[in-house]
């Protein structure tokens, strides 16, 4: 491991190079683009959450102005266009395979959630396409609906997919049930909790968009798509949908306006638009409006969980047992099976040395939007379970919430958990101390008294999260049910004048990779940042990679570093000829090749020119040119961790919970750019506070209609509801990559919901309240509190 990036760029708060175009309004987002011959798509969507499609009458729409083509699910079937894939194969407890319902790009037999696309209109303008979509008459046969997984599992419930009994897609388990039962039998204390992890809408502010161009003569397709993984999409569009051979398919994700996991799946709409573009041999663009985003962007979370914790007489954890119903929505989304299983259950032990653990997860179909990865993807759900039950345990034992955590922390690394994963490194107690100090925890009682004097109720909540980032290695993921392919690639091209292009398969949707990836190269080569371009998101330029999700930048940056080191190794060979010394004696530091055998030096740029001139060295021994490619497959996940302390003030007259202070101590390993990392933590914590206090996708239980389908109805965090944050970092390098990095993008959204709810429960002296802790819910609890 080499964490010694000793230059002046890496590890420093470099201002972002991507800002230059973004603050001028010169960003390049998919919807900004109009291609020659541009046509526009609009969707006909099912108004019912569950309905058989009897007939689609497009005759009126066909004759409307500008209409070019109308596509239905039957057209896709006629063209033998396959259904969408589920990329994660699981086996249930009884050994049977996951039961995946068929999901076509446009619904064919039936619609299974409100807003599911049923037909597609292509027209000369966006408005014409929409007008025509409204004129298409679909004859539906309404079917009974079920939005709640508990009801969906019951005998006699409406059935969503033929042949899938009780709507159960899988009944999966992990851990040692017998050992866990034994731990419970031997325990002094047992506590339990039933909690609901509320369904969220990701709400990237840029809606999903795609623009597809088909060049019939060459059978080439170019897809511009707002996506987190353009290279992965090329494989899918080609291998699964056969829209063009992979070498003739170009997928470009230009500037992407936020993703948070919601732009990682393959969606019905994008598949249908690509099909239509090929059909009419013209570029077709579709941009979701916000209502469509609410209805159809893969939602997040939605777990109903029962958990039990066993302890000895001193409050040491002996065993953890968890049973979760995961609401999958109407279909298993792209990686919808992965999130509530290997991304969730594996992290349930949190930061604690728990000898025995067992978790059972049932994946259930309901008439709701499919659920997939959303900021943290499974880890927030896990952190919420363990960090809530730990506080219930602390209350039962009368132990301080910081003390019970300290008593149970994992203290030596690597640490093999009973749930597959081996934590790489950490310093959990140091993080707790840092967070408590930042929060002035020891003087909490004074602040509580101050609130009481104002007629307000103050509470403090602690949460200690750990998560898994930088997903890999490939072989492990393949073993767990994924296809593998968890490496990242990087090509570093040094031009004759010494300027550098870095081509990375990672892809930024706000994380600032153009800056941080350049920082690695600038320091490794000892060259100015201005000499470096970071190229991403275009498969005609970057041939291999796996994109950005699960805080994978550490994997991508490690590939960049390895490519730099290959360049330096070759540079030493070339410099040896220029210096007329033995290659073994050549050293490279801060942009200069030197040798103790001579006083002469070779600057990086001189070496680069010599590599291309190819005159100073024998080309039979050293190839001309200066390009290096690396594929980095991490040996393990990385395990960022942290401790958050939240203080809330509740007004019992209104039930409004105000987050008064929020302090975060995070261990992200080595940090490339503190300014950018802090920004990501701010965003994550805000999403977590949103989940804890306001956000929820609410479906009407009788109709399965989404009743929170706009920014008017859905509780998005706004600037005036969020406090000033205090952050600090506790750095323990990860041994899982050469830079020692861990990952920071999801942390805030993982650690903050339990911190906020722990504070609310602490304030009200209750065991639990389900998220979101809305004023109405809290006001009722305040009334009960007063009555007692």
């Amino acid at each position: 491991m080499n964490t010694a990036m000793s230059g002046t760029k890496f590890g420093k708060s470099q201002k972002r190079v991507e800002d230059a175009r973004l603050v001028r309004g010169k960003g390049r987002y998919v919807d900004d683009m109009i291609l020659p011959g541009q046509a526009y798509a609009a969707f006909v969507r099912s108004p019912y959450a569950h309905a058989r499609i009897v007939n689609i009458d497009a005759s009126a729409a066909n004759d409307m102005p500008g209409v070019i083509r109308i596509v239905s699910g039957q057209d896709l079937l006629d063209a033998q266009y396959p259904p969408l894939p589920n990329i994660w194969m699981l086996h249930s407890r009884d050994g049977s395979e996951i039961k995946a319902g068929i999901r076509n790009a446009l619904a064919t037999d039936a619609a299974r959630y409100a807003g599911e696309p049923v037909a597609l209109v292509v027209a000369e303008s966006r408005e014409q396409a929409r007008d025509a979509a409204e004129a298409i008459a679909v004859d539906y046969d309404e079917l009974p609906v079920v939005a709640d997984p508990t009801r969906a599992l019951a005998d006699g419930a409406p059935q969503l997919h033929p042949g899938i009994a009780n709507n159960r897609a899988f009944d999966w388990e992990i851990g040692d049930e017998a050992a866990t039962d034994k731990a419970f039998a031997n325990a002094t204390h047992r506590v339990s909790i039933t909690l609901y992890n509320n369904r969220l809408v990701p709400n990237a502010i840029e809606p999903r968009a795609i623009n597809v161009q088909w060049e019939g003569v060459e059978e080439r397709m170019t897809i511009y798509i707002t996506h987190q993984n353009p290279i992965g999409m090329r494989m899918l569009f080609s291998a699964v949908f056969g829209l063009a051979a992979e070498h003739k398919l170009r997928v470009v994700a230009p500037d992407v306006g936020g993703g948070f996991g919601s732009k990682a799946p393959a969606y019905q709409e994008e598949m249908a638009v690509a099909f239509a573009a090929k059909l009419i041999d013209r570029p077709v663009k579709w941009t979701a409006d916000r209502s469509e985003s609410f209805l159809t962007d893969a939602h997040g979370r939605d777990h109903l969980t029962y958990a039990e914790l066993a302890m000895d007489g001193e409050g040491r954890f002996l065993g953890l047992k968890v049973h979760t119903l995961a609401n999958l929505g109407g279909y298993i989304s792209f990686s919808g099976a992965l999130i509530p299983t290997y991304m969730y259950a594996t992290m349930l032990c949190g930061q604690y040395a728990i000898p025995a653990a067992y978790c059972r997860v049932e994946g259930v179909y309901t008439n709701t939007c499919p659920v997939d990865a959303y900021r943290g993807a499974g880890r927030p759900e896990a952190a919420y379970v363990i960090e809530r039950i730990v506080n219930v345990a602390a209350a039962k034992l009368g132990v301080d919430q910081a003390e019970i955590r300290r008593r149970n922390f994992i203290r030596s690394f690597p640490h093999q958990t009973p749930l597959v994963y081996e934590y790489d490194s950490g310093s959990y107690e140091a993080c707790l101390d840092a967070a408590l100090s930042l929060a002035d925890y020891s003087n909490y009682a004074e602040r509580k008294a101050g609130s009481e004097a104002k007629g307000l109720i103050r509470g403090v909540g602690i949460s200690a999260y750990v998560e898994a980032c930088g997903i890999g290695p490939s072989a492990l993921l393949a073993k767990l049910g994924g296809g593998g392919n968890m490496w990242e690639s990087a090509e570093v091209r040094v031009h004759p004048v010494g300027t550098i292009e870095v081509l990375t398969g990672a892809h930024s949707h706000g994380q600032g990779h153009q800056t941080t990836f350049a920082q690695v190269v600038a320091d490794r080569f000892g060259v100015p940042m201005e000499n470096i371009s970071v190229i991403q998101g275009d498969t005609d330029r970057i041939q291999a990679g796996t994109g950005t999700y699960g805080s994978r930048a550490s994997v991508g940056m490690s590939a960049v570093l390895n490519s730099c080191d290959k360049i330096i190794a070759k540079g030493k060979l070339i410099s040896a000829y220029l210096l007329e010394v033995d290659a073994e004696t050549v050293e490279f530091d801060d942009g200069v090749f030197s040798s103790k055998a001579t006083n002469r030096t070779v600057a990086f740029g001189e070496m680069a020119f010599a590599a291309h001139a190819a005159a100073a060295f024998p080309t039979s021994e050293i190839e001309p040119g200066l390009v290096a490619t690396s594929f980095f497959d991490p040996p393990n996940f990385t395990y960022p961790a942290g401790v958050y302390v939240c203080e809330v003030e509740i007004d019992p007259q209104t039930g409004v919970v105000r987050v008064d202070s929020f302090c975060a101590a995070d261990d992200f390993g080595v940090i490339a750019n503190p300014m950018i990392v802090e920004g990501q933590v701010h965003g994550g914590i805000t999403q977590g506070i949103g989940q804890a206090l306001w956000e929820q996708a609410v479906y009407d239980p009788d109709t399965a209609q989404l009743v929170t389908a706009s920014y008017m109805d859905y509780g998005m965090p706004r600037a005036d509801g969020i406090p000033d944050f205090k952050l600090t970092f506790c750095e323990t390098p990860s041994p899982s990559n050469p830079l020692g990095m861990k990952g920071c993008g999801e942390a805030g959204a993982i650690g903050s919901p339990p911190a906020v709810i722990n504070a609310v429960c602490n304030a009200l002296g209750i065991d639990h309240v389900d998220m979101p802790a809305t004023p109405e819910k809290i006001w009722r609890l305040c009334q009960l509190r007063e009555a007692s």
Partner: protein, 157 residues
Amino acid sequence: MAIIAMTVNDKPVEIDVADRTLLIHVLRDHLRLTGAHVGCDTSQCGACTVHLDGRAVKSCSILAAQANGAKIVTVEGLAQGETLHPMQAAFHEEHGLQCGFCTPGMIMTAIDIVNRHGRPDEATVRAELEGNLCRCTGYHNIVKAVIAGAAKMEAAQ
């Protein structure tokens, strides 16, 4: 159809548009000024904010015909050549943006806040940003950027 005459970023323009056309679509599709973005269909997100006769408006809520005769400034009209508007510079320096999609609207709103409040305090900025949504930054650095931008705008006068 109607002929709309406006001044956009100091340039006079004349466009023939359908009656129902919104200002945002004239700016983005006809004038190819794609800095203002469409982020919602309920006038909640503020990504489409531009200045109309000196006031911040959500251009998705204005018919192009209503802007007839108006002076429009979009985010593209702020910088003077290489020199960023002080508020643009503040967003860069305070790391007030991540994905950048909400940023043009945020900057146009921020300038309007400063025009109305001078040197606003944090509570004022947070309250005034109520109509602009950001999912990346948690608003923390946006608030800092608006306060810093206000100081820069005052210094530039």
